[in-house]
Each structure stands twice: as C-alpha cells, then as structure tokens.
C-alpha cells in the first residue's frame, strides 16, 4: 500500500507541473478528460465495484454537482472555488437520502438497485429542468471567472481535475486496504453472511455511496466550468452511468486502480474517434469492446491482481491459541450464557418457532435435535439476529440480543457456521478468517486481525491454504474454514448448524475431535445435528424441538430413549411419517437406541 501511495503521489506531482511548462492546450484537454472519467469510474467503484451494488445513478450525482456549481456561480454569484465543496455536499446529501431508503429494503439488490438509481436520475433531471435551476434554457457559464491557479484558464481546470482525481484514487486505495473495504468485499460476496459475521452492512453501504457520490459531485462542479453550457439532456444522459460501468468493468472492479485503467483506455479510444462519422465508429468499437470484455475477461484487466497473496509466516502458524479461562459448569444465574424465553418466529402466518425456552450454560455443548422443519435452523437464525424474533426474548449474559441487528449480535459474542459453507468467494482463506476477527468481539484492525486469523488457520490445519480462494477447498476443508471463521470472531457462543452433514465417517471423526478442542479452549457450543453418534459423543445435554416447540431436554442418553422423541423423529407405527428425517430411518433408530 505504501508503494502504491508513493507511485500515485509521484505521478500526480509530475502531472501537476505540466501546465507551467507551456504544454499544448489540446493535450491538456485530453488529460482533463482522462482525469474526469477516472474520477467518475474510481468513485463509482468504491460502492459498486467493492460492494457489488451496481449504481446507474452516478450520472445523477455527477449532474447534481454540475448544476450546483452552475447555479451558484451564475445565479447566486458565488466564487467558483467556493461552489465545489457545496457541489460535493449536495450530491452526498442526495445519495444519503436514496441510500437510507433503498438499503433499508432488503430485496432491493442487484438489478433492482441499478434500476432504482437510474429512475432517481430521471426524477432529478425532470425536477431540475422544470424549476428555476435550469428552467428549460440551460445555464451559460461564460461569465464565471476562472480562478488563476495556472497560467491559462484551461490549465487551472486541468489542475483542479488532477487534484480531485488524486484525492479520489487515494481514497479508493485507503478504502481498499482498510477494514471498511474488507467489509464491502464481504457484502459483495454474501451480504447476509457478512451481516451475521458482524459487518454493519447498512452503515457500510451508505458510507460507500456517500463517499462515492461526493467525489462525483465535486468533479461535476469542475466539469460545469469545462463544458461552459449546461443542459439537462446532456448532463443526465443515460450514457454517462453506462460508460462509467463499462470503464470500471473493463479495468476490473475488484481492484482499486482497475477503473482508472479502464477509464484511461476508453477515453483515449473515444478521443481517437472524434468528429463526424468516426465518432459513430468509436461508439461501435466501444460496444464491441464491452461485449468482448464481459465474455472473455469477466474480471477485467486487473482481475488477477485483485487476489492478494499472503505467505504464511512460520511464527504465526506455530502460535497456539492460548487457553481461555474455562468457566466450569455449575448452577445459578452466572452459569447461564444464553437464555431464551418464549422465543417465537412466524413467517406470514407459518409458526416456525412457537415460544421456546432454552438455557445454554457456560462451557457446555448443548445438542439441538429434532426432525427437519422442527425449528432448529430458525432458532439459530433468530439468535444470530438474521431474523427478528416475532415475540419473546434472547438474553446473552445481560445483553438482550433479540432486538439487536445481526452485526451487533456478532459483536456481543455469538457466531455460527452454515450447514452448506458460505465462504466469501472473492476473499482468500486468510481474509475470510481475518474478516470475523475484524468485525467480531474484539473489532481488531486489519494487521492484528490477520495475525489472529493465522492462529486459527493453524488450529484448524488450514494454514497452507491461507492464500487460496475458498473455491479451491474441498467440502471438509470448507467446513473447517467455517470453524476458523467462527473462532476468530472471539465468540463465547458458537452455533454449529449440521457441520457433519456430507462428510465421510473418518472426516466426521476429525470434526468431532475439532469440536471437542474448541470447547476445551473455552467456547460454549450449540450443536445442531442429525448424526446421533456425534451427539452421543459430544453433548452434555440435548434439547429436542418438534413443530417449533421444545419437546424434551436433558441428558442425551435419557432424552433420546423417550418414546415421544422417537415418535417425533420416526412417526408412529400406525401413521404415515409426515416429517422425514434427513438420514435413513434405520440408522437413526439404531443410534437412538445406542
């Protein structure tokens, strides 16, 4: 990162000297256009590339900046330079409004977000056109005095654009390497899992949108003076956001500098096809390029660079996590880690949980059993904060977690694994694990989080895969990655959702051994499982759910031989089975009897 920063600063310094050397104005204009599009593409990428929320509203933020400067410097007589920060602020304020609404609606993702931002662009354009801001006649900027930062007016605009571009690239670089950036990448790969692992998704998306639009607004302000005549048709042209998307995709959206490369390439391309029919040919080339890039280079020119290569340091792998103070099981209130009372969840009238009281004691492994559809997964989803409880409470130590958003629950010390592993596919194994250390209980910085991650990679035996992408792991390794992620968060309560499903018998033995080691270093575990052999081997107590209610609880051997539990799993002899268990019935009958 240091190296990128010095290269960037050096480049900007050299470019800043040009206007004072009698550089030809036509090249100055070309460089200006490159700066303009670089700023737009790189700023767009901070939200859309990093988090995957493709905005088609970048033209609106840019346009608001242009019209703010246009209006304030002509009709209000403000000095040009004073209007630039206002342009950025107004753009940011509008973005905050859109984001605050759109990001609250959970299903506005993907194409819908793109459409929403596109529609917002047209709404803004119509309002500006029909009010005194534009009034239908456009705004002439010719009377505005250009401040003299350079020998010529065009040199001044060049310098201003360079400054904004430099700032934009710097911000993108810092975000890319920060905790914030890692959070955005996690949102890109799997937003729900990111939230459950402690990433404040709403706040991050909003912040990224605001930063991104503020930068577009400022460069819009500069550009108002460059184009010197503003019309809504030109300013809010649908081609602006689409060109920005094309540039970013061409360069590679997973890398902070990708969009800058794409913007430079496309601007040069369009510049070499100007005037008459050759502008039309330029358009054709752009279309062909867009199609070719998406078909043959979906990750862009810098796509490969975006995967960070982290080499394991031997000191890190050797470090064994220190044993935390294990609170021995006992009686009394202090021994209870999690208590749910009358916890209920229904989906459109379907009652998945009908008021369950569950008590989890410190240091124990509590088995959570029941036929499929009995509410086990819903229980995990409600306790982790992914679903909001319809009624009842869940209290962790003294914190009432049932009213908190998922990322706050994670911070309180609750983590979970997924039955089908959900690693962040664009992050390396190391980054996957470091993410939960950054956003879990301790809220570590990036460097400390990676050190913590190395420990848990060593613990789960994944250290040699640290630099790999999760796709390269087999199912067994991915399940261990789930363990490592959950552990690195520093959680006191770990909820394991059918971690053994799909594993071979010898892999199950490994996993059981791993779970025992996890408990031994001080973590309390809720263990949802159908593999009865493992339940018998691991659990101190079990709770059996049926149809969203607690059917039985107690020691495993005793509970699993109760007739009502066997009936819940297998159905009555004289009645058809309405809830089929996952494993073969014979196997369960045998293990229940064990």
């Amino acid at each position: 990162m240091r190296r990128s920063m010095s290269i960037l600063t050096g480049l900007a310094a050299i470019l800043a000297i040009l206007p004072f050397t009698g550089f030809p104005a036509s090249y100055e204009a070309l460089l200006y256009l490159i700066f303009l599009w670089t700023t737009l593409a790189v700023s767009w990428n901070i939200l859309s590339g990093f988090s995957g929320y493709f905005s088609f509203g970048h033209g609106a933020f840019f346009g608001i900046g242009m019209y703010t400067t246009g209006y304030l410097s002509t009709k209000m007589g403000l000095p040009f330079l004073a209007t630039l920060p206002i342009a950025g602020l107004l753009s940011a304020a509008f973005a905050a409004l859109i984001g605050a609404i759109a990001f609250r609606v959970h299903s506005v993702r993907g194409e819908l977000f793109s459409l929403l931002t596109l529609a917002a662009t047209f709404v803004i354009a119509t309002i500006i056109l029909n009010t005194s801001i534009d009034g239908g006649s456009g705004i002439y900027m010719s009377a505005v005095t250009v401040p003299s930062l350079a020998p010529t007016p065009s040199g001044t605009l060049y310098l201003l654009a360079l400054l904004v571009t430099f700032a934009t690239l710097l911000i993108a670089l810092l975000v890319y390497h920060s905790r914030f950036g890692t959070g955005l990448f996690a949102i890109h790969d799997d937003e729900d899992a990111a939230e459950v692992m402690g990433v404040p998704t709403f706040r991050f998306k909003l912040a990224a949108l605001v930063i991104s639009s503020a930068l577009a607004g400022v460069i819009g302000g500069v550009n108002a003076l460059f184009v010197s005549y503003l019309t809504t048709v030109e300013t809010f042209n649908v081609l602006t956001p689409l060109t920005v998307v094309l540039m970013a995709v061409l360069g590679g959206t997973r890398h902070w500098a990708g969009p800058a490369i794409g913007a430079t390439a496309i601007t040069l391309l369009l510049y070499s096809f100007t005037g008459g029919d050759s502008a039309v040919v330029g358009k054709i080339v752009m279309g062909v390029l867009l199609i070719a890039v998406i078909l043959f280079m979906p990750n862009g020119l810098l796509g490969r660079l975006a995967v960070r290569r982290n080499r394991p340091r031997s000191a890190d792998i050797a470090a064994v996590p220190e044993r935390r103070a294990v609170v021995t099981q006992g009686s009394g209130e202090a021994a209870v880690l999690l208590r749910t009372s009358k916890l209920a969840k229904s989906f459109n009238g379907i009652h998945a949980l009908r008021g369950v009281d569950v008590e989890v004691r410190r240091g124990e492994i509590l088995g959570l059993l029941g036929p499929n559809g009995s509410g086990k997964s819903t229980f995990i989803n409600v306790v982790s904060g992914h679903y909001l409880a319809t009624a009842g409470t869940a209290v962790l130590r003294r914190d009432r977690i049932s009213t908190l958003p998922a990322h706050r629950v994670a911070r309180c010390g609750v983590s979970r694994t997924y039955q089908i592993p959900r690693p962040f596919s664009g992050l390396t194994v190391l980054e996957n694990v470091a993410l939960t250390a950054m956003f879990g209980v301790a809220q570590l910085g990036r460097a400390e989080a990676e050190a913590e991650a190395w420990k848990w990679l060593g613990f789960t035996g994944l250290a040699q895969h640290a630099a790999a992408l999760p796709d390269a792991l087999n199912l067994h390794q991915r399940k261990f990655l789930e363990f490592a992620r959950a552990l690195a968060s520093g959680a006191d309560l770990l909820m394991l959702d059918e971690v053994l499903s799909g594993l071979t018998p010898s892999e199950i033995d490994n996993a059981v051994e791993m779970i025992r080691r996890i408990r031994d270093q001080g973590t309390t575990i809720i263990f949802v499982e159908h593999v009865m052999r493992a339940v018998h081997a691991l659990c101190d107590r079990v709770v059996v759910f049926n149809r969203g209610e607690v059917l039985a609880s107690g020691a495993p051997g005793e509970v699993l031989s109760r007739p009502e539990v066997i009936t819940a799993y297998l159905g009555r002899k004289d009645q058809t089975v309405d809830t089929a268990p996952a494993s073969a019935p014979g196997e369960i009958e045998a293990s229940l009897a064990a």
């Binding site: 493709f54 609404i101 759109a102 609606v105 299903s107 506005v108 993907g110 194409e111 819908l112 793109s114 459409l115 929403l116 596109l118 529609a119 917002a120 047209f122 709404v123 354009a125 119509t126 309002i127 056109l129 029909n130 239908g136 042209n237 649908v238 081609l239 689409l242 998307v245 094309l246 995709v249 029919d277 039309v280 040919v281 358009k283 054709i284 752009m286 279309g287 062909v288 390029l289 867009l290 199609i291 998406i294 078909l295 979906p298």
Partner: protein, 284 residues
Amino acid sequence: MDFPPIALLGQAVVNGIFAGAVYALLGLGLSLSWGLLRQINLSVFAIALSSGYLTYEMSSRGFDILLALLILPPLFFGLGVALQWGLERFKVASFNSLLITFGLTIIVEAVLQLIWTADVRRVESHYSDIKLRFADLFFPAPELIALALAVAVSLALWQVSRRTDIGKAMRAAAEDPAMAAAFGIDQNGLALILGGVDAAVAALGGIGIALVYTLAPSQIYGWLGVVFACVMLGGLARPLGPLIAGCAIGIVEALTMTVASPSWAPLVSFSLLLVVLLARPGRA
C-alpha cells in the same frame, strides 16, 4: 390553475392508452426474458428501432406498411434466436446480460446512424390521414393499429403461458431450473424460442413506433426508463403486465402533460417506478 375542459382530459386518457400500447410491445420481451430466463435483454430496444427504420424504408419505397407486419417479425424472430444462442453459449449471467445487450444496443444505434443519419424521420402513409371520431374524441388509425397489435400479442402470450405445455414448461423452468431439467424440460430449446418471440414482439413494437412516433437513433435511450417502469410495475414474466401497467403510466403521463406541462411527464413514470421498487420488491 386553469383546469382543462373535460374533452381534453378524455383525449388525454385515449392518448395515454395509445402510448401504453407501444410501451407494452417494447416491455413484453424485456419482462419475459427477465422473469423467465433471468436475463435483462436491452437489445429489445435496438431491435425495435431497427424494425422501425426498416418499416420507414419500406414505406418510403412505396410498400404498404402493413406488409412490414408480415415480413419483419419472422426476420427478427430469427435474429432473436441467434442472439439467445450466443447468450446461452457463453452462459451469460443476469447482470452481464444487461451489459452485453447494452453493448449490442450501442452498436445498433451507431449503425442506424450511419445508414439513416441522425436526422428525425417520419413514416408518411395514407393511414396517417384516417382518423375515427367518437363523441369529441379522436382515434387515429396508426394508433389504433398499434393498440390492436399490443392487445392481440399480450392476450396471445397470456393464453400460451397459461394453457399450453410450452408455456407451463417455461414457467416451471423459471421456478426451479434443475428440477425442470430433471423432468425432461429442454431449457435451452425453450430459451431459444423465447428469445425469438421476444425479438418478434419487439419488432412489432418498432412498427408501432414507426406508425405513431418519429424516428431518431438516439431515441433508443429515451424509451429505456419508461419501459422499465412498465415492466416493473406490471410484474415480471406476466404477459398482460406491461399492457396494463403501460396504459396506466401512459394515461397518467398524458394527463400530466395536459394539466401541467409535457416536461413534467417523466417525473410521473419514474416516481411510480421508485414507489414500485420500494413498496413491492418481492414481486420482481
């Protein structure tokens, strides 16, 4: 504010319905391929405008524009199948289909401009002079033809999707592709047919545009926003959706133009779109 007389408002409603017919023809292909194939096919706009220009070319060479109705849809059906084959061949995912078809649209726009220049063109035909009059309201023949096309196509597709095996297979494949494949549904084949149908309907839309409006290559982007609004408002993959939503938006726009001013009209459709996206996104 002076309130316009009732006849003017009535005419606005009629004009709105006519606009809605064209929106529907443009939106149908988009809605079907989005809902059933999870592909956002912007090329319908390129196809529609190409078909509009071909209609213009035919009429300027003295052919009856109704002849275009016989020739253009089959022609574009073939092109649509070819395009769909390309998308399937490269396994283009949802968002990328948007970018790729956008790339195609840019190319088509540029080609149209090279052939017919950027000037505004208007189809002159003897139909333009025919106007039916009912009470105080006017019903021009070109608009009536476009409306008849939109209603016929929407109803036909609706019946196909409800009653025929091919319609049921498509809906099943959209619901759960893996399961549908397991039951022997040939999704690639269905997708090719759907791609062709989308293009043929868009070609009809283009004839509608040529009949009712003026033509210019850059118009492609002018239609984009409002047609998306119709598609979202009507619900994806519902054959009657674009027609109903299109007429609703058309009427509201036309009333806005009459009561306020034409330049306010976009505000209505896009505000509607925003409300739809935020209020009932589950449907999309």
